[in-house]
Subunit: 255 residues, 2 copies
């Protein structure tokens, strides 16, 4: 987790992005995770300026700064990080995992440094010239058969990893640890829900309840059950017995 001051020290730098829609998507993801500063190097100028000045432009996009050259865009940053997806064999620098790089970036932000994070164009990524500006290269772990990421998605993942809360407080929100045996599927549990609802509907519902509230309640309760298929089978059997008896209450009295 980063403080607002720390997030404020991050400069996201899009290099040679050609599509204003992707620049807008990157700006939106930055806003989602609290990073206000976007710099754009050598975009298609007309399209970029139109997108930037649109009435409904994302504030991050509206405030974006434009540079002609990469070295100008990173001039005030003391750590410059290049991003790549998949594996590149042409790199001189070793690649860090996104996680390891994010940890380094957070440390530098905490110590007061300004950090630039570079994203290349959709087609070719960062050039070797762009990478020559970087002290650290990070890799988003896409699979080798399909490594090329959408620009907005790549920015979203890096922003997420920067603020990811490895939180002690997450523990008390965590639901019960998953049980080991294979469990009944949602479809199998649906049968239990159906039988229970039929049983409860016979002879009507209690005062001030409706079928919808009962259904929501039963669904929630059954969903919480961690049943093996075998136990589910036995519960269905018991419920069928009860249902058989309940149906008798609907019959007209024997003469």
């Amino acid at each position: 987790m980063l403080s607002a001051t720390e997030s404020d020290r991050v400069q996201v730098v899009l290099v040679n992005s050609r599509n204003p829609l992707n620049i807008g998507a990157a700006a939106r993801a930055m806003s989602n995770f609290g990073f206000p500063h976007l710099r754009v190097v050598h975009p298609y100028p007309v399209a970029f300026r139109e997108a930037k000045s649109a009435v409904d432009a994302e504030p991050v996009l509206a405030a974006a700064e434009e540079f002609e050259q990469l070295h100008e865009a990173v001039a005030d940053c003391s750590l410059v990080v290049g991003t790549t997806a998949g594996s590149r064999r042409d790199l001189e620098e070793p690649l860090s995992s996104l996680e390891a790089a994010a940890s380094i970036i957070r440390t530098r932000l905490r110590s007061g440094s300004r950090v630039a994070i570079l994203f290349g164009s959709e087609k070719v990524g960062l050039s070797n010239h762009d990478l020559s500006h970087c002290q650290l290269l990070l890799r988003i772990p896409t699979r080798s058969d399909h490594s090329s990421m959408n620009l907005g998605q790549a920015v979203a993942i890096v922003m997420y990893e920067l603020i990811r809360q490895t939180a002690p407080e997450a523990t008390n929100e965590t639901p019960a640890a998953a049980p080991d045996p294979p469990l009944a599927t949602a479809g199998e549990k649906e049968r239990l829900i159906t039988l229970l609802l039929e049983a409860l509907s016979i002879n009507g519902y209690p005062h001030r309840t409706t079928p919808a509230t009962i259904e929501a309640k039963v669904r929630r309760l059954v969903r919480h059950l961690a049943l093996t298929p075998s136990d589910l089978h036995h519960w269905l059997g018991l419920l069928r017995q009860l249902l058989w008896k309940l149906r008798a209450t609907q019959r007209p009295p024997q003469e």
Copy 2:
């Protein structure tokens, strides 16, 4: 990190997505991280089918399955996970952090379970009805002032978190295993057993069963249930309703 077999057990389910471009973006992110199975519930049919059958369609999209109803799309999954961004105050269930949820999901995938991960529409997210199908809700940690995420970006972040390689050096950041929530005691469960046995005894047992075998079976089944005190309380309430109806079958016919 997941094996191909484990990734194969994940079903990404897009509910009420309206924009085929976003469905395509979600499919691309899935492909980047090695998740092949996409299900789409109630999309705009014409636009979806056109996008799916396009010559250059992403293979994940081309193979996507379409369903009319959510319960059909999750019927074969034993864990159903809902996703939300930001904070929602209208939820009955506690929200897990994405990290904690991903850890639970990986455990379930390793044990052979099939897991559905639901994403709602761009505008309104998952409805309360959609969430009623979920056993686990996860939250992507966007900031409260701008919590609404682009669908493709949300899918990308969740896929990334599922395969994220927790580096050895990250272990000291890793939250401790979650403590189990307090569960109903054996004594509280005994009340459930008592009510069930009374319900089953009314009007006699099925042929060739005895009170002792029924009691052993019921006790074993109830013992297997990991119920919170609150859920136990609700189950007792439902059972009392059934019992009240069943007792009516014992009364002599009204004249």
